[in-house]
């Protein structure tokens, strides 16, 4: 028996090593199932914690926004500091379509996504040949342009008041129609959108496009010298990211039943950056999801104790960037790594 085992061991040692391969990404992973279940069960346990369903809805919408934003920052290495603009464009497009075009959830949502993508496409066409600080400054400048238009173009956008009395349109599937009037119903609708975005982005970042985007992030010049059209990859990443921001913005307009300039402000653009960085978007796909939940919960829980919650959150952000720039996901990876050793 021992001899057989020894022979098997020798044979195994002599056999050629298996060809190294890329780890398959899978379509639906275990963390996805955990995240979907955790969110889907919020109506069962949120109240027991003294929280409310609208909070879960808001968190889910910001998760979508942050995931889309992280395609740009975390996966392509492109720092946009004016991304609130595309969130706002989505919100306004949804509202305007509903008020002036047709009151259909699917058409209005589709138009919001298209409007976000179109705004992103125009801006990205101007900035995709830049990188680093120039790229970041241009995103701020364009973001401010959108914000300014939202404030000043009163006849269309409603000026500082924004678009009010937007409806939560029903989700009509032809054979059945579901009302989204309640926060709980709208939350489940947003959760479905979140699931689609998660699965889609997961697949995208592991696709050939995602791999090349990752290469562009690490070394733009070398990516060009091996034949990739770096400009086009950067442009596409921006457009997809802006389209997802548009979707999140439309959901936000439904949640708030209004669209107003503040959603496009530099403030809002900064929030999504903070979410992604604190969550650990630079090292993990799940960083933006963690960061968005952490931010909104911190706002509500800290906000219950002090009006200056943002000061404390800002200090936490500074500490995180200084001492653990990999964010909460980085801390988790470190913990898991230590346990594995």
């Amino acid at each position: 028996m021992a001899r057989v085992a020894e022979e098997l061991f020798v044979q195994a040692a002599r056999a050629p090593a298996p060809e190294p391969r890329l780890a398959p990404a899978g379509l639906v992973t275990r963390p996805m199932v955990v995240a979907f279940l955790a969110l889907a069960t919020t109506p069962l346990w949120l109240g027991a914690l003294g929280l409310y369903q609208y909070l879960a809805l808001e968190i889910t919408i910001w998760m979508i926004f942050a995931l889309g934003y992280n395609l740009l920052l975390g996966h392509a290495g492109l720092p946009s500091f004016g991304h609130g603009a595309y969130f706002g464009v989505g919100a306004y497009a949804f509202g305007l379509a509903q008020k002036h075009l047709v009151a259909s959830l699917w058409i209005d949502l589709g138009l919001a996504v298209l409007a976000g993508a179109a705004a992103g496409a125009i801006v990205a066409a101007f900035i995709s040949h830049r990188r680093g600080i120039y790229y970041a400054l241009l995103t701020i400048a364009f973001g401010q342009v959108f914000w300014f238009v939202a404030i000043k173009w009163h006849s269309v956008t409603g000026g500082e008041d924004g678009l009010l009395d937007l409806r939560r349109l029903p989700a009509d599937f032809g054979f059945a129609s579901f009302s989204l009037q309640s926060n709980e119903a709208l939350f489940f609708f947003a959760l479905a959108a979140f699931a689609l975005v998660v699965v889609g982005l997961w697949r995208l970042v592991h696709s050939p496009f995602g791999r090349i985007l990752h290469a562009v992030k690490q070394n733009e010049a070398r990516a060009a010298f091996v034949g990739h059209d770096v400009w086009l990859y950067k442009w596409l990443a921006f457009v997809i990211s802006a389209a997802i921001a548009g979707l999140a913005g439309a959901l936000f307009a439904m949640a708030q039943q209004s669209a107003y300039p503040n959603v496009m402000s530099l403030h809002n653009s900064g929030f999504v950056v903070m979410m992604v960085l604190i969550g650990g978007g630079l090292v993990s796909f799940w960083g933006p999801v963690i960061g968005a939940a952490f931010f909104i919960l911190a706002r509500d829980l800290l906000g219950a104790y002090t009006e200056t919650w943002l000061l404390w959150y800002g200090l936490l952000f500074m500490a995180m960037v200084l001492f653990k720039p990999e964010g909460i996901a980085g801390l988790w990876q470190q913990y898991v790594g230590r346990r594995a050793r």
Partner: protein, 248 residues
């Protein structure tokens, strides 16, 4: 014989400084050509003009019968010209396998596929692994580029260039920073590559270059001051006067 690659009357200046003046170079297919010259001679600028990083102010660059002057690096790369870099230019946080994989024409062709898993693309990882094995990096496939030893990173530089399956390979000072043992290993690798590729090397290490090259051009003061086989150059008075003869 028509050369595979040709630079005709190439000129480049930065402000008042004329870096290249009337450079003429021709590289024959299947041969290993060298470019040498002292520091500041304009070798690297010349290399950048030939591979698309800089647009020459005047003159023309021809490859396989096509005028490629001023084309973007990606367009030049797609025509079958690859290059390595003197200051290493890798995808540092990616594994050696991924570094090579993203440079393969197979992945490039699928570059706008956003729906399928790259890991499911048949043959690409195997092709990348074979390229790594070719440069002596078998067993290092899953190591991050930044964690590799200096000599291994140099080999990976070449592997990334080779992954594009080029017809012409430019190597920019490939021995930079390598010790005697690393240089010897690299010479062996280049000798092996020479059997299937047209190669152009810019090099400071004259024994390395003269031991491999079929033909060498000497650049000094932004001009080609001499050209010929290594033996011819050793005897060339211009080369000796420019203090390069002693190095050879």
């Amino acid at each position: 014989m028509t050369p595979l690659f040709e630079a005709k009357r190439l000129g480049k200046r930065f402000g008042d400084a004329v870096v290249l003046e009337d450079i003429n170079l021709a590289f024959a297919e299947g041969r290993l050509s060298g470019i040498m010259g002292p520091n500041g001679a304009g070798k690297t600028t010349c290399f950048h003009c030939l591979t698309g990083r800089y647009k020459p102010d005047r003159g023309e660059v021809w490859f396989a019968g096509e005028n490629i002057t001023g084309l973007a690096p990606r367009a030049i790369a797609r025509r079958g010209i690859a290059r390595s870099f003197q200051i290493m230019s890798l995808f540092d946080d990616m594994t050696a396998l991924e570094n090579v994989l993203v440079a393969t024409p197979g992945l490039r062709a699928r570059g706008f596929d956003m729906a399928r898993d790259a890991a499911a693309a048949t043959g690409l990882a195997e092709e990348a692994a074979a390229t790594l094995a070719r440069v002596g990096l078998r067993g290092k496939e899953l190591a991050r580029a930044r964690s590799l030893a200096y000599g291994e990173r140099r080999a990976l530089e070449i592997a990334v260039a080779l992954a594009a399956r080029p017809r012409l390979l430019f190597l920019d000072e490939p021995t930079a920073g390598l010790g005697a043992e690393g240089t010897a290993r690299l010479a062996e690798l280049v000798r092996e590559l020479k059997r299937s590729l047209t190669i152009v090397i810019i090099e400071h290490d004259m024994p390395f270059l003269f031991g491999l090259a079929d033909h060498v051009s000497v650049i000094h003061w932004g001009q080609v001051i001499a050209r010929g086989t290594p033996d011819e150059l050793r005897a060339n008075p211009w080369v000796q006067r420019s203090n390069l003869g002693a190095l050879a």
